[in-house]
Symmetry: C2
């Protein structure tokens, strides 16, 4: 089985790559080839369990998707995207990457006359809130994700692709610097609690967020590559399990784990724009379909933070 | 006020043109210029109440939308579309006209830095059914309309256009030959009752349809050009009032009006493909928002047919 990851140099892509190295297969079918693609060449370890090639390029530029799919990958993970703040600030860049790039990819796949499984990283921001309010995508990013979900439905119905669009929760905590992720402050709070740095929080402490750990998110992506799509009945976008949490809850859990007062490390600097954007996203999502399809889920925010703390302790030899 | 009608040579476009000639204004603002555009030059009467130009071209070809909007129309009616059966049979042609053409139009408008009212003829096929089932667009046509509605939301939020997307019911009865309209058989039944021809009906007599007269539909388009959009709260797609009807109800109403047995003129020739497509569309739609916004509505199928019969009698000197 040949697997292609578009957006392989990002956090999610690197984690997914490591997971595929570890598993060596997707639902009992051995991986025989892995292609990693991103703007910069994704890192490849010296020893890999199967042949790996790392390619760099601008996914949305003309002819690039064709170059990627002409080798007929069986499973394609499409993780590349302009993030909400970027898509909002740069209208043209957002549409180019989040709409036109994906449309080109689907057309390139169609032209190969193969029909690979395509796992498209969609987002909880376009899920209807669990309280039944209809989804009204707000912001260019949300509109672009919603459009791609529609295209996946139609291209899949026509037999051009076999698409699944897991609507991922916000990843928490994220490693490394905030780097454009709107809710990156949640991760800053966690790092601050462990390394003593300062976290700047632009939203009220009781604002609700919908999050999942990166381990669970990666497991959800792999599961999306393996589920039978016949039973999805034309609803290939699936809201992924997540947890509702707040800055307050995260801080409380961190105090419990570290035994230190996190208040010293959190500075509230209200930002109306960020607060408004995050408030427009659902804080809780109905994930009944994902549950019925056996998608994995996190247990609790505290469990996520304990696992993070253990990793942190190991990595810093505390 | 300069008005542009794209798709002006079609049934709806010709009716809308006649209505604008009659009214001479849109909400008390006099029309000073009208541009009619279609694949073939739209007909223009010798005497018109304001200057009218008729242009012909392929709306979705490169540079054409820019040619149309560079004169800064204040109101644009966008009625041009590949119809459901065409969009389903010709995948590329459907996307080219129904997605790419409109996207180009929005980009061309954005480039002018004017922000005209854009009335986009959307369709009831993507309305959630009144029984609360979520809308799951089926068929390429529905997917394309849903995508354009999303783009209208985002381009309007950004201030590039001031869009309104009335989701029109199926027009009943339509004048002239069936010409690709999936539910054209409903109109054939009506013509058959008046002129003695035969109507071929591909669906069961009790299958429910969502319809509106062309007069009401045209009045809805004009109303969409005149409503205040500030209060729409990011929901610029509005389900238009219509009526739920069946072949049986239409036949019964026609017998009452003409006094003749319509059964002689109707031949049932079941077509699973057409039946499936029509069955996938909502048979009743929640039009509460349109009602609150004072959009016009038909009274009854019988009233529509009586008006049609009167016109028919006049036009054929019966």
């Amino acid at each position: 089985m040949h697997v292609l990851i578009i957006g392989a140099a990002g956090r999610l892509g690197r984690g997914l790559t490591a997971k595929l190295f570890e598993d060596g297969e997707i639902v009992c079918t051995p991986i025989t080839r892995l292609t990693l693609y991103d703007l910069i060449p994704p890192p490849v370890p010296e020893e890999t369990p199967f042949p790996v090639e790392a390619l760099a390029g601008d996914f949305a530029s003309f002819g690039e998707p064709a170059r990627l799919v002409n080798s007929h990958p069986d499973v394609i993970f499409q993780l590349a995207a302009a993030l909400p703040a970027h898509a909002e600030a740069e209208f043209d860049a957002g549409y180019r990457l989040n709409l036109d790039g994906n449309r080109q990819l689907f057309e390139a796949i169609r032209a190969t006359k193969h029909c690979p499984r395509l796992v498209f990283a969609s987002s909880y921001v376009i899920s209807p809130a669990a309280d039944g309010e209809p989804a009204a995508p707000t912001g260019s990013y949300a509109v672009q994700k919603a459009i791609i979900e529609l295209l996946i439905e139609d291209y899949s119905r026509r037999g051009f692709i076999d698409g699944v669009a897991p609507r991922l929760a916000a990843i928490f905590p994220q490693e490394g610097p905030r780097a454009g992720a709107t809710t990156g402050y949640l991760s800053e709070i966690v790092r601050a609690a462990f390394d003593g740095s300062e976290a700047v929080v632009p939203v009220p402490e009781d604002l609700a967020h919908w999050v999942a750990s990166s381990e669970t998110t990666i497991a959800q992506l792999v599961h999306a590559a393996s589920i039978a799509t016949e039973g999805l009945a034309g609803r290939r976008a699936i809201a992924m399990p997540g947890l509702t949490t707040t800055v307050r809850e995260i801080a409380d859990a961190l105090e419990k784990i570290t035994g230190r007062d996190t208040a010293d490390h959190i500075r509230f600097a209200p930002d109306d724009e960020v607060t408004e954007m995050v408030s427009s996203w659902p804080a809780a999502v109905d994930t009944g379909r994902a549950g019925a399809l056996d998608f994995p889920a996190d247990d609790s925010v505290e469990a996520i933070l304990r696992a993070y703390g253990d990793d942190f302790s190991v990595s810093t030899k505390l």
